[in-house]
């Protein structure tokens, strides 16, 4: 059954579908009670976010988006091979993925209406709301709304530390779903089932609408699940903004197919603010849908749906 909802006028008008095919496939949790307490506080108090920079990634107290955001000249070219998008491949593998913000980033297994399968990425902004690209929820040439999307927070190879769930409760905007695809409106959301609330454990991204000058003066971070690495491991890169337009952000962060929908964020005082939703690859610069005022309004509305 399709349901339509209208948030505001114009091409950012929200459109939605809910096929009532949600399914939950919980896996054993591996989060400690200490972690649960920190994340719960995170949802209630922004001050708690400041503590998250002291969490441990792997064997070291090291968060690449924090470190390389501060010291970009020291960025590693971790795996200089032929998998090049723009210049050398600077992507860094994130493992384990159980620290914030990595655990709030989700691998997506998309089943289109015509049965074809795709890999994408999403990220949590509330306990049950996952933000992604519009073309991950509504595929124009594959039958429209996806029939189902499996969401796997913090997927790390065979490990699903926060379980997974499938949903067909999807959101996008008329600027994306009506007529031909328009990159300016390429964003959407997945509302997870009531009994699957991973954002409570993982923590969530905050949202920001920066002006042009702020964006151009910012090091952007991007992490997702590229298909050339199998689509089951998370890879990160960061670089400064290359250019902006009212609805797009362009950068030379290395990405690959499967990273559509990834968060594009900046780090400030230990807090992660998403400013874009990664959608496109291009030799002249990869790009994201910019979180401008109207996009922010829709994301906040969708955030409330999954509270």
């Amino acid at each position: 059954m399709k349901k339509l909802a209208f948030a505001e006028a114009g091409d950012d008008t929200t459109v939605s579908v809910n096929n009532g095919m949600n399914g939950v496939y919980p896996k054993p949790q591996s989060v400690s009670l200490d972690s649960l307490e920190v994340v719960a506080n995170h949802l209630e108090s922004l001050e708690t976010d400041l503590e998250m920079d002291r969490e441990v990634v792997g064997d070291e107290d090291f968060l690449p988006d924090a470190y390389f955001g501060s010291y970009p000249a020291e960025s590693p070219a971790a795996s200089r091979g032929f998998e090049v998008v723009i210049g050398p491949d600077d992507r860094v593998k994130i493992t384990p993925t159980t620290s914030f913000p990595w655990r709030a980033i989700c691998a997506l297994r998309i089943t289109a209406r015509n049965g074809r399968k795709f890999i994408g990425t999403g990220w949590l902004i509330s306990p049950r709301t996952v933000i992604t690209a519009g073309h991950c929820v509504y595929l124009h040439n594959e039958g429209g709304w996806a029939s189902s999307i499996e969401v796997i927070p913090a997927l790390d190879g065979a490990s699903r530390p926060y379980g997974s769930a499938s949903s067909s409760n999807l959101r996008s905007v008329s600027g994306w779903t009506s007529g031909g695809p328009n990159a300016d409106f390429d964003y959407g959301a997945i509302i997870l089932p009531q009994n699957f609330r991973p954002g409570v454990q993982t923590g969530v991204f905050e949202l920001a609408n920066l002006n042009d000058a702020q964006l151009l003066n910012t090091t952007l971070n991007l992490s997702g699940y590229p298909g050339d690495k199998g689509g089951s491991t998370q890879w990160f890169d960061k670089k400064r903004t290359k250019s902006v337009s009212p609805r797009r952000i362009v950068y030379e962060i290395d990405t690959m197919g499967g990273q559509s929908g990834s968060p594009v964020w900046y780090l400030a005082n230990g807090r992660r603010f998403a400013v874009g939703i990664h959608t496109n690859g291009s030799a002249s610069g990869n790009s994201a849908t910019r979180i401008n005022a109207s996009v922010l309004t829709n994301l906040q509305n969708w955030k409330a749906l999954g509270a």
Partner: protein
Amino acid sequence: MKNIKGIITSDGKPASDVVVVIVEGSQSFLDIASVTDQAGEFSFSLQPGHYKARAFKDDLIKETSFEVSDEKSVTENNKAVIHLDF
């Protein structure tokens, strides 16, 4: 955008669950990965232009360059524009 269809085979037989990505393009392209079905088929939506696709099966990698024409649909007559055999 044109809907581009491809087929992956292994020793001439359809290969399922192979991940395919676009790695280069003369036009901007959606950064989504396609996964082959039981018939070995996958698809992408692309603007007319020149592209390079790469397929990953186990530890093997195959790639091919192709052109998406503005003149006609490359999926006409159910013909795949991309065919890679492992």
